[in-house]
Symmetry: C3
Subunit: 428 residues, 3 copies
């Protein structure tokens, strides 16, 4: 009975038109052109590498896309258990007309050709959006993105701020900032002016969020102008060689200023908490990052208290932090739970984490899911994975365990999938 | 099949008469007088505030109870997914004759009136106890509670010691201590005498436990008399302005002395580990506390080794600490698992945590549940939530997974619900 | 339907002939001689002690085995809920012809006699292996084990290195090292020579792994020869009194050297991460160790990067570390998930942890289970517990949730149970 109930709920959830509130889509090349764009997603390159394929094989310069796929396919058998492989399979079936249950060394070529043909259609991106029931997707734009030449009703800008906070010591970053804003950073005032100019630019182009990913050791705090000015001088003089204390003080200062600007411009500030970069330095591109799960939201106490009017949609990297996220969203009006990120974006963790949120955080304060995708083709299988798990939780934990009727369960599902995205980000 | 089995087990568990081993009931006003007492429980005020209701609206001075409920009801829709809302609904159905499935802005007034009428009965508290199948409830008394004017067979005293350990620097606390014991704290001897007097008073009034809640950073250790004397002098001289090292040394000294007195008086010492107070300082009353889940029971190693004759019923705030609790109770004869506390008192965490305990900790060393309630009406829905989860675990993990028969599963459930409470606290 | 599916999958998994990749079997006395060998396993002595039996009762010198069992049986009722008790029961039914469902004070004597009779058979060990469908078991040999007098095809040597890393300050350990290798440790060169001699000895006797258990605070790093030489001089001069900084530097040096030797000899290096020794110092033998779950694999970053050709099968003590293990095995080619260790070797944790691994780590990089047993009789119930959970996960999470067919699910189960053990350790 429960399986049929799950199926019914899934069908209803799957009928929704969605907005994907966090992706890494390039708005000027949103969809794939060959299967190499799909298999080149770090989830496949890093897993294939983990299963034994040399990085040099995967990242050989100038390699033909077909050859790259051929090499990665040698490891698909070793990955066939993974949920990531299941995304590939479901995508192939739904978008490329693939009819089998296995994609491997023996049959990938016809899939490659079939996909290439589909992808060659001039309206392929729109086809994918349509088949994926996506109305719009959030971008994660570099701060110096001109934000021109695309429809911001479909591709919604979002200001990514990692470089500003953590790499301002790099002359190249300051140079990009100057080019983007016409402000040369020479002191705190010009730094602040340049950041304001970025916000003005993004808001003028319909940006709906500011976003950043943060290492587990980061603990935001207000830094005095005096301290920040000293630190900025050191950075301007010594660049990457500047003392780490100065670099850290500037990171704090810029982060805090961004929160102030989010407040001013009424933009939610997406915090993605917990990643350590380049842990496996010999890994493939984007397959080097890991984490230390010993992080606590208590580190964000000062921030949450200081900016009561800023909404903070929070993603945590490790499932062991999910209870804190649940509790902080239950207590702080400005904290919102946001999706299932990266290493927690697999079914067992999603199920445990989503169930805990659904029963303890106000239903208006939960953003169910985002795809985090780099190419549009991934939204369909990723969202379907989430919808199946959501249907399972609603069936087992609400209808069976708590005696809810199906309609109410469905309403809850729809709200976390769609309604809250609209309201929290003011879109749709 | 499993659902019917769960139902049968639940019915049997629900037939038990229980003793609630931890509440915050005021023995002189144990039950509610209006729905404002129910909705004023921090679980509703903090969630309503989190969902957008201003603290000033909730805590306006002199506000009429009916108006307070009216304001809180504006946010019930946003909380209808929460397990806390389900407590309200089940309580209303079981105790106030409510017949709907939704309590909201449109229908709360009739419920308010119905509840007020029931609550006006002179034996309402006894009615609630009876409908809730509660034989007795533990209190959490301030150390200067006179403990008079009530039946200690129903309202069982428990000495709460938070103020003694963490606020002895406050002149008001020492003044209360002096009034309660006739000892003026001027040195270690008088401090110890006053603490002994408290224990004598509580034991004379049938107290059955000593209790305290502890921040994640606390790590008990024995402090020498010399160090403690120096610290106490500083506290007596400087009060709250005393150096934090001194305040910390006295906290350690008093805590250790309390453990000694528990040993002397054969009282279990309930430790509730992990809360950070006032994390969200602008929050509603009792809705400001959160935690840092990075806490370990290794911090209690010295204590558990030093007091082998003291039973320590332990509650942890975060589910990620539950495995340590399970393991420490499996190894240390004096460590007992105790209920599901606060932010872990929601179904997903209870299910995971209780399942882990039930299969690895001696069955004699598990206290299944306590309500933690402030008003008697909450025992019924909270215990029912737990009994349903316990029935689910017994059905799925014992009868199905391990092939137990129903009778044995039921015996295990009864023991953690009732038998162990009697034996461990020497009541019933 | 799911229950029947689970049963079918279990039956198929149970038909496999297995190799147990980690045990503490004494190859010269692999099986038990009386039930006291079974009940003397720390899982029973520590739980009986936790339930109230005095250590002196359990460990009385010269106690008759039958009397020891009689004493432990007084506490079996208090442990009847535990999975450890279920191991005893299943073992008694499968190996000793026991027909009841309860083993307790009233009926243990006939079981004792029946077991003793079975165990007296000269081929008892072989019978147990055969009934347990075990082809071979890995040992955990002291570094000075002569490794003679047994069939290394059945009892596969594994070099245990805890003493070398953490106890080299003890003269007795260095003396054992000298006797085993003929090298007297007087400087770094002789230390390294002696370690090389151990590896040569073990590899010559078909050792297939090196293993160590590590405290939560350990974080391997390369130590310079100069620093190590200074530290070694201090150790040679002061023994256990040597400064802890020197002891720690030598631990790091030896550990790193062992990794180099694993690299040279192509031996996997089993890391068992997270145990604190002697936390409960008054506990029974082997029942004193616990942990601090605040440990992260980020501590092993330098090691994993430095030794890309060494395979590290990793066990973690706490389930909260399992997601990190899953993620690190997903990214690092040389990190492999290894079984479910000690305090995480109970069904709720196994189910959660194994499910997370099975869906995100390449299927070639997961070692499903090892028994960790001291006596052969335990493999059967422990592996059966794991196989039932594996069947449950495959049924619920692969066949039902992800639509796999049974055959593919079974193949995955077989690979983590048997295939990967063969390939990773080069056996079978």
């Amino acid at each position: 009975m429960t399986e049929q109930l799950r199926q019914r709920l899934y069908q209803e959830l799957d009928a929704l038109l969605l907005i994907d509130p966090h992706t890494h889509i390039n708005q000027l090349a949103p969809a794939s052109t060959t299967l190499a764009d799909i298999l080149g997603y770090h989830y496949y390159t890093e897993l294939a590498h983990s299963a034994g394929l040399a990085r040099e094989e995967i990242e050989q310069e100038g390699i033909d896309p077909r050859e790259k796929v051929a090499r990665l396919m040698t490891k698909m058998g070793a990955l066939s258990n993974t949920i990531q492989y299941s995304w590939l399979l479901e995508m192939a079936q739904a978008l490329f007309g693939f009819e089998g249950d296995v994609i491997d060394q023996d049959n990938w070529e016809s899939l490659y050709d079939a996909a290439a043909e589909k992808m060659a259609a001039p309206d392929w991106a729109q086809q994918v959006l349509s088949k994926s029931k996506l109305e719009a997707v959030f971008l994660t734009n570099d701060f110096d993105d001109p934000l021109e030449g695309f429809d911001t009703g479909i591709y919604i800008p979002c200001l990514r701020t990692d470089d500003l906070v953590f790499k301002l010591a790099e002359p190249a970053v300051r140079s990009r900032l100057q080019q983007a804003t016409n402000y040369s950073v020479v002191d705190l005032a010009s730094l602040r002016n340049s950041l304001e100019a970025l916000f003005d630019h993004f808001v003028a182009h319909q940006a709906r969020a500011c976003a950043i990913s943060l290492p587990p050791g980061f603990s935001p705090t207000r830094v005095s102008d005096g301290r920040a000015a000293t630190a900025l001088s050191a950075l301007l003089q010594d660049g990457n060689e500047a003392d780490l204390n100065h670099q850290s003080a500037i990171a704090q200062y810029v982060f805090w200023t961004l929160a102030e600007l989010c407040d001013q411009h009424r933009l939610p500030f997406d915090l993605m908490i917990g990643v350590n970069r380049s842990v496996y330095s010999a890994g493939v591109y984007q397959g080097q990052d890991l984490y230390d799960s010993r992080v606590s939201l208590i580190q964000y106490q000062e921030l949450f208290n200081a900016f009561e009017a800023v909404t903070f949609p929070i993603s945590v990297l490790a499932s062991v932090t999910n209870q804190e996220l649940t509790s902080y969203a239950w207590i702080f009006p400005n904290v919102v739970t946001n999706g299932h990120w990266w290493y927690s974006n697999t079914p067992t963790f999603i199920e445990h984490d989503a169930a805990a949120r659904l029963e303890a955080v106000p239903r208006t304060k939960q953003i169910g899911y985002y795809s985090d995708m780099y190419k549009l083709e991934f939204a369909l299988p990723k969202f379907n994975m989430y919808k199946r798990i959501l249907a399972k939780i609603l069936a087992e934990r609400f209808v069976v365990d708590r005696g809810w009727n199906e309609e109410n369960a469905l309403d809850l599902g729809k709200q976390v999938l769609r309604g809250n995205v609209e309201r929290i980000f003011n879109v749709g």
